[in-house]
């Protein structure tokens, strides 16, 4: 079977449908008799609702129904939950104010859901929404996170707008370490707020069947089973057995499609209210900006202490994180367990203390966005290390090397809870330095200077924790769900295989990668393997795709199910060849009796399992196995990215002259796909560092960057081509030895680029390094030099 197994650069099988316009995204689906929903959103950031008069809208042409929060309240609709309880440093659970799909008393951000209009056409629904009369008392908006605690209260049960004040690490030990330091570097950092901006806007169709009393929900979800669980168990109080969630092709997510939102909840609920007609909603981009969960948004003060030899002695981090107006599904975990636990980075820093305060503001909810906490942690660690090197006159690469955890120190217990199973950081550093020609930088800088340009180089030696697990551990830390994955591998009688996986691709190419794994494992043709995902009606169970977990966790479940298939097949093969089961060997799709030339092909065994005329006693017919896999630990991808920039001091424009990435993802199934994931991740990280920024008006809370005219999305001409390589230290605790690659670029890139830009400028600036900001910094430095 040429070019179809593990390690092959196989072009993706899903591409043909996407390239010919035959992809099937949620908005491409139209159900018979469907009605259209439009949400009237709050035009102000903070207001107490006095009345919502829907009478005129209800009698407008084509209107089927108008619903408000009162209708949902009367019907017993619950609150959208946050699935991770963070215990604060005083032992109390975080403040979890209710988050109703349609507001009941107050609107808390611009875009909050005030009413839902359902009509025969979308145009009629929009026209009718204009007729709804809102009477509200506007309240002062809380926008600035550093002032949130002293501002007017957003939720009755969250005094000072504080969600939690949490800590990790030994504060006294860190103080002791700092007292002995030869040098301490201090930085104030802003991790700018981002809008994920998957190109496919969110969409949903809710459909209730009055005959079977079953619901079908079509949704742009990264995790349909989890959406079903949240809808059923928390919000709508429905039996899961009566709800099917289908997430067809999903056009990107980057985290923003993990969460359960108001809109799909409301469409599902409303379909029954209007007698079973399907209710469809599709966001326009403006709505996406207003109401998709945003990412990042931290303000941090951090300090790193080192001894006279340059060894890190301790780190202190004080972060304020924005939760937005309500807690999105996993918001609380992002600046805590996905952030502070990564502050050791690739280094042997012996003691670390982090304090994180999460606050509510009158802005859209903030939750996991590509990297989720880990880009923020890497930004803290790698900016501190770089600036420390500058302040102490050390080479930034060598300072990193000196402090790396060495290969013989694994498994390595960090001072911030995680235990890294394996890693080997120097080969990635060496390869990256060689690729960028680190030694030749001085000459390139001189050449740039001769042209009147500023040149800088910046490193980022990141680590991430992927495949969040194990369930028992995350449960003890407050997670409300298990973090396993499941798979069913089913041989059909004719020898083809259907694989039902709970992971759900939204661009990652699972249909190809997973088929490669199964073809190799079972020794059957790649083309005979079909991957089924994204439908709770076809897949037994699942937890979905986020946190770079699909291959490490979902792929491991598939391997386990394949192992069960092989185990059962050996019994059948032994019977057919009249041999002892213990003597049966399996390799490349053939079962052989050890030491003989007797063999049976996998397909023959599968046929026998379904036509069991000559069959071992006590063995069930069929060849269809399900496995659940609960990881033993996170996986720890790591690597080194190096950015080199050239800045024009006259325009402030930063040109990325070169970018190299050397990543250790463990074993790689499909290098073509992995490289694509790295490219995309880097682009998102570069976007954050260079141009993207979410701006709310500080007084009114209006979103000022609410369209592609105002929010700078990275375009093709913002980038060079990237040079991407890998090193391999295989994960020790999953059967494929894989670690995950989806977020690495977004985690590594912002620090690498800002290290390069500040190296060129010689002064600190915050992200995004827009031309204006860079120009001001460059001019002030030139002025200083002139004086």
């Amino acid at each position: 079977m040429p070019d179809s197994g593990v390690g092959d650069r196989l072009a993706r099988r899903e591409d043909k449908r996407f390239l010919t316009g035959k992809g099937r995204y949620t908005d491409d689906i139209n159900r018979h008799g469907q009605a259209y929903a439009y949400f009237l959103r709050s035009p102000v950031a903070h207001a107490r609702l006095k009345s919502v008069d829907t009478a005129a809208a209800e009698s407008a042409p084509g209107v089927i129904a108008v619903f408000t929060g009162k209708d949902m309240e009367a019907d017993g609709v619950g609150s959208l939950p946050c699935g991770w309880v963070v215990t604060d440093r005083h032992g109390n659970p975080h403040k979890a104010p209710p988050h109703f799909p349609l507001v009941r008393d107050k609107a808390r951000y611009v875009g909050d859901h005030v009413a839902m209009v359902i009509a025969e056409s979308l145009g009629q629904a929009k026209d009718a929404a204009d007729l709804i009369e809102l009477d509200f008392e506007e309240l002062p908006a809380v926008v600035d996170i550093m002032k949130a605690r002293g501002s007017g209260q957003i939720h009755d049960d969250a005094p000072e707008n504080l969600c939690y004040d949490w800590e990790l690490g030994d504060s006294a030990a860190v103080d002791e370490a700092f007292a002995k330091a030869a040098h301490v570097t201090k930085l104030d950092l802003v991790n700018n707020r981002l809008v994920p901006n998957a190109m496919e806007p969110r969409a949903a169709i809710g459909e209730w069947d009055p005959g079977t009393e079953e619901y079908t929900v079509y949704s742009t979800s990264q995790n349909p089973h989890l959406l079903r669980l949240i809808l059923c168990a928390f919000v709508l109080n429905l039996p899961e057995s009566k709800v099917r969630v289908i997430a067809p092709d999903v056009g990107g997510g980057f985290g923003s499609k993990i969460f359960a939102y108001a809109e799909e909840t409301a469409c599902t609920w409303a379909s029954k209210k209007i007698g079973g007609r399907p209710v469809k909603w599709t966001a326009d981009r403006g709505e996406a900006f207003l109401s998709d969960a945003h990412g990042r948004d931290h303000v941090t003060h951090c300090e790193l202490a080192l001894d006279a030899d340059g060894r890190f002695l301790g780190m202190k981090v004080d972060t304020t994180a924005n939760m937005g107006a309500y807690l999105s599904s996993f918001a609380t975990s992002v600046p805590t367990y996905l952030y502070a636990t990564l502050l050791a980075g690739q280094y042997t820093t012996p003691v670390i203390y982090a304090n994180v305060k999460a606050v509510f503001t009158n802005t859209a909810p903030v939750d996991a966005y590509r990297g989720a906490g880990r880009p923020e942690a890497t930004y803290v660690v790698e900016r501190l290390v770089e600036v420390e090197a500058r302040e102490t006159g050390k080479d930034p690469a060598e300072l990193r090397r000196l402090n790396f955890i060495k290969p013989d120190q694994f498994p390595y217990q960090t001072p911030v809870a995680l235990q890294y199973d394996i890693g080997d950081y120097e080969p990635s550093l060496d390869k990256a330095l060689e690729m960028i020609d680190y030694k030749g930088f001085g000459q390139r800088k001189a050449e740039s200077e001769a042209k009147g340009k500023l040149r800088g180089i910046g490193l980022s030696a990141y680590i991430e924790a992927c495949g969040i697990a194990p369930s028992a551990v995350v449960g003890s830390l407050g997670a409300g769900v298990g973090l396993w994955e499941s798979a069913t591998v089913r041989f059909n009688a004719t020898g083809t295989v259907s694989v039902m996986t709970g992971s759900h691709s939204h661009g990652q190419g699972h249909e190809t990668t997973f088929a490669q794994v199964v073809a190799e494992k079972l020794g059957i043709p790649y083309d005979n393997v079909e991957i089924v995902h994204g439908d709770t009606g076809r897949i037994p169970m699942g937890m979905g795709t986020y946190g770079s977990r699909s291959l490490a966790v979902g792929g491991s479940a598939i391997v386990k199910a394949c192992d069960k298939i092989i185990e059962k097949s050996k019994k059948i093969a032994a019977h057919l060849m009249e041999a002892s089961e213990a003597d049966i060997e399996f390799k490349d799709g053939q079962f052989t009796v050890a030491g003989t030339d007797k063999s049976k092909a996998m397909a023959e065994i599968a046929f026998t399992a379904y036509v069991p005329h000559n069959y071992p006693e006590g063995v069930e017919p069929g060849l269809d196995e399900t496995a659940f896999y609960d990881p033993l630990n996170f996986t720890y991808p790591a690597g080194v990215h190096v950015a080199e920039v050239e800045i024009d001091p006259d325009t402030g424009i930063t040109t990325i002259a070169d970018w190299v990435a050397v990543d250790d993802f463990g074993n790689v199934i499909n290098p073509l796909i992995v490289e694509g994931q790295v490219h995309g991740g880097i682009a998102q990280g570069v976007g954050q560092a260079l141009i993207e920024n979410t701006v709310y008006d500080r007084e009114t809370g209006q979103l000022l960057t609410g369209s592609y005219m105002d929010y700078a999305m990275p375009r093709a001409d913002n980038f060079p081509s990237f040079r991407v390589e890998t090193t391999v230290s295989a994960c020790t605790h999953n059967p494929l030895g894989v670690k995950g690659c989806g977020e690495a670029g977004a985690i590594a890139a912002p620090a690498a680029l800002m290290n390069a830009i500040t190296d060129a400028l010689g002064v600190e600036i915050d992200m995004p390094a827009t031309p204006e900001k860079v120009w001001r910094a460059a001019q002030s430095r030139l002025q200083q030099a002139a004086e």
């Binding site: 316009g21 992809g23 908005d27 998957a198 496919e200 981009r285 073509l672 995309g680 093709a716 001409d717």
Partner: protein
């Protein structure tokens, strides 16, 4: 309501539409050609690019009525006799797409680029694509795919 007639992917079509109907709505909702996507509302993202009389246009920025009498080609009309267009084939070969949502517009735009410039530099490709946003690929493999298609099409 008004009647609009045009040729779409070689077929003559004629439909009654509301005057405010955009070309992209006409294609998606009335002709069922859902390969043309809507990714924004400000004519920025390019997911809706189709060809109008052989030139790339954003179908969200034209009324259906403005396409009266025109020849429209959508992503569904690009492959001929079941054979992928060289641009489609190159995108597959070089992994120029991930989630696939921007892809139809990206491919239609790239095909038009090569009509103007059969041998573009990487920089020219990147500048041409300013009107097409991709959030997944970082554009690296898109540029590579367009270079490969250009080479194939030059023969």
């Amino acid at each position: 309501m008004l009647t609009v007639s045009m040729t779409v992917n070689g077929k003559q079509v004629s439909k009654e539409v509301e005057p405010r109907t955009l070309l992209v709505q006409f294609l998606r909702e009335q002709l069922g050609l859902t390969g043309t996507h809507v990714g924004c509302d400000t004519s920025q993202c390019g997911a809706c690019v189709v060809h109008l009389d052989g030139t790339s246009v954003k179908a969200c920025t034209l009324l259906a009525a403005q396409a009266e009498g025109a020849e429209v080609t959508t992503i569904e009309g690009l492959a001929q006799n079941g054979e992928l267009h060289p641009m489609q084939a190159a995108f597959k070969e070089h992994h120029g797409l991930q989630c696939g949502f921007c892809t139809p517009g990206m491919v239609m735009s790239a095909v038009d680029l090569l009509k103007h410039n059969a041998d573009p530099s990487d920089r020219e490709i990147r500048e041409w694509l300013q009107g097409n946003i991709c959030r997944c690929t970082g554009y690296h493999n898109i540029v590579k795919a367009i270079q490969a298609a250009a080479q194939t099409m030059r023969g």
